[in-house]
């Protein structure tokens, strides 16, 4: 269990996290959601004791400020990107992480196999793709088989295929009963992975809700990029404007702003008017 009470972090005169309080139960997975600069990563850094903070963080009954080593022993941390130790091999990096936790070297191969990096053990870190680096980060975090995992934007640098694989892996870790704290700005991923979403903006909690309610509660908006048949874009623009949407021309198609939880309305309006849609894409 993680209890955070009145957490505040200031850098000089700038307050990046303000009066942040949340209780996270054993085995619960939560997402810290918000735009860049919302303070999500700073909260994770406070939990790890990487930065000084005001307020209290209690993990498993221990104050993280005074028992930093003990609480970090129970946590695995996956950074946003493994952009360091480039010249080390995958094996050496995992072995170093294991040595820092007093874990025998044999565990390295076990964990590497769990996250499917076993065949890359002798490659240098710089030779790995973004997806493999992410898996390597997860492997390092899993070495001590920790009850708590902190993941900082675990899918931000991944392509769609790698993202799906990472989500599947994280779902498996969640189902093993681990407590997960994930920072993310992808609503769909959170719906698949977490029990609760803590939405943040400018360092403050704006709401705590079920992941399926995030879009509605926060009034999230998205842009639909609709690719249309030749010459039908001006007509589509007229139809969408008449239906109350904000839309603009974009090449052969139109961009239309929609509610994040009701994207089909714009498509339906165009279909009713007989405008044929060749393709569509969601932009956030």
């Amino acid at each position: 269990m993680i209890t955070i009470e009145r957490l505040t972090k200031r850098y000089g005169r700038a307050t990046v996290v303000s009066d942040f309080s949340v209780d996270i139960a054993d085995g619960e997975s939560i997402a810290l959601w918000g735009p860049n600069g919302a303070g999500k990563t700073t909260v994770v850094r406070c939990i790890l004791g990487l930065v000084r903070y005001e307020g209290t963080i209690i993990i498993g009954g221990l104050d993280a400020r005074t028992h930093g080593k003990a609480v970090r022993r129970a946590m695995g941390y996956v950074p946003q990107e493994l952009s360091f130790y480039d010249e080390m091999t995958v094996f050496d990096l995992l072995d170093y992480s294991a040595a820092l936790r007093d874990i025998p070297t044999e565990r390295v191969s076990e964990v590497a196999d769990v996250v499917n990096v076993g065949e890359h053990l002798h490659k240098k870190v710089r030779e790995l793709s973004g997806g493999l680096k992410q898996r390597l980060g997860i492997a390092a975090a899993l070495l001590p088989d920790p009850p708590i995992l902190l993941l900082d934007e675990p899918t931000s640098n991944l392509d769609a295929k790698s993202r799906d694989a990472a989500i599947e892996l994280l779902q498996g870790l969640r189902d093993e009963g681990r407590t997960l704290v994930v920072t993310s700005h992808h609503v769909e991923e959170m719906a698949m992975l977490v029990d609760r979403v803590v939405a943040m903006e400018r360092g403050e909690i704006t709401t705590i809700c079920d992941p399926s309610d995030v879009a509605e509660v926060l009034g999230l908006r998205a842009w639909l990029h609709l690719v249309l048949s030749n010459g039908s874009a001006p007509r589509a623009l007229d139809v969408l404007s008449a239906s109350g949407f904000t839309a603009k021309l974009n090449g052969r198609g139109v961009l239309v702003e929609v509610s994040a939880q009701d994207k089909g309305e714009a498509v339906a309006a165009l279909q009713r008017a007989g405008v044929s849609i060749k393709d569509l894409e969601v932009w956030r």
């Binding site: 269990m1 993680i2 850098y11 054993d26 085995g27 850094r45 790890l48 004791g49 990487l50 930065v51 000084r52 993990i59 498993g60 009954g61 221990l62 005074t66 028992h67 930093g68 080593k69 003990a70 609480v71 970090r72 022993r73 129970a74 946590m75 941390y77 950074p79 990107e81 493994l82 952009s83 360091f84 130790y85 010249e87 170093y96 992480s97 040595a99 820092l100 936790r101 007093d102 390092a140 088989d145 009850p147 708590i148 902190l150 093993e176 009963g177 681990r178 407590t179």
Partner: protein, 288 residues
């Protein structure tokens, strides 16, 4: 799998963890082209100096190793501070900048253990460079028929390593302040200029421009760790401090045979002071 209760463990410094970080620093140094460049440059220059120091040398009163050592002191007081300062300056700041420090400190390891491990690892790596350079110079000296005054030669090698770790400590102190590696390196080079060149000129200028007592001149000289190393080294193979003029003669008169040990102790103190301040600052818990 629950974390309802985490067992409290000791937060004391664990030497095993210091050793793990130190071993990685040594491995990294072995793989670093910069480190090998420094080592090769120092060894090559030491070899050249050893080769030219003996044949035809007119340095009166020194044993054969003493002649080589005199040359190496001049080399060491320029190269070693630059080496130690830049390695130290890059250590913490470089890791902070590329995110490695955050990853490292997400493990159950304290700031003190990270700092000490880094310091010990780099100090060992520097020992390889310094003793390697002196070793090569010593072998060349013996091969050319020299062999006297070997004790002083070894003592100067040890003093050079003390200078190296002193500068490493200063570099790491800079590194604890700097957010960026380039900033730390820039400050380190300014400090090197100050210590290796301006410090000596300052002492000379002060002695000319003021009437400070001779003991004051001696004290102001050893306030500069590079100067303290030079004086300790000169004393090691010549037994005198004529280079300091009246202040040197005062030191010999006042301290007699113990002068060399006093200067050695001051050089050793300079090896400890900066790293202690840097450790205290880093361990206090600034953000990483």
């Amino acid at each position: 799998m629950t974390a309802t209760h985490i067992e409290a463990t000791s937060e004391r410094i664990e030497t095993t963890l210091v050793g793990v970080v130190a071993a990685k620093e040594i491995r990294d140094a072995r793989r670093s082209k910069w480190f090998w460049m420094w080592t090769a440059a120092f060894a090559a220059l030491a070899a050249v100096m050893a080769s030219v120091a003996l044949p035809g040398s007119q340095v009166a009163g020194y044993g054969s190793f003493g002649k080589t050592a005199a040359s190496l002191v001049a080399l060491a007081q320029i190269i070693i501070p630059l080496m130690g300062l830049t390695l130290g300056a890059y250590s913490i700041a470089g890791q902070r900048e590329n995110g490695a420090l955050r990853f490292l400190m997400s493990h159950p390891i304290s700031r003190s253990e990270v700092f000490l491990g880094t310091y010990v690892g780099l100090a060992v790596a520097l020992a390889g460079t310094v003793f390697g350079g002196f070793g090569i110079a010593g072998l060349i000296t013996v091969a050319q028929g020299g062999g006297a005054n070997a004790t002083s030669f070894v003592r100067i090698a040890v003093l050079s390593w003390l200078l190296a770790i002193s500068m490493l400590g200063f570099g790491m102190l800079i590194s604890t302040f700097a957010r960026r590696a380039n900033t730390a390196l820039g400050v380190a080079i300014f400090l090197w200029l100050g210590l290796a060149f301006l410090g000596d000129l300052g002492v000379m200028g002060t002695s000319v421009a003021t009437n400070i007592p001779t003991w004051g001149l001696l004290a102001s000289a050893v306030m500069n760790p590079v100067e303290a190393f030079r004086l300790a080294s000169l004393t090691a193979f010549s037994g005198s401090l004529d280079v300091l003029g009246p202040a040197g003669r005062y030191a010999v008169d006042a301290l007699g045979d113990s002068l060399g040990w006093w200067l050695f102790a001051i050089a050793a103190a300079w090896a400890v002071i900066p790293v202690t301040i840097a450790l205290a600052r880093f361990s206090r818990g600034s953000d990483v």
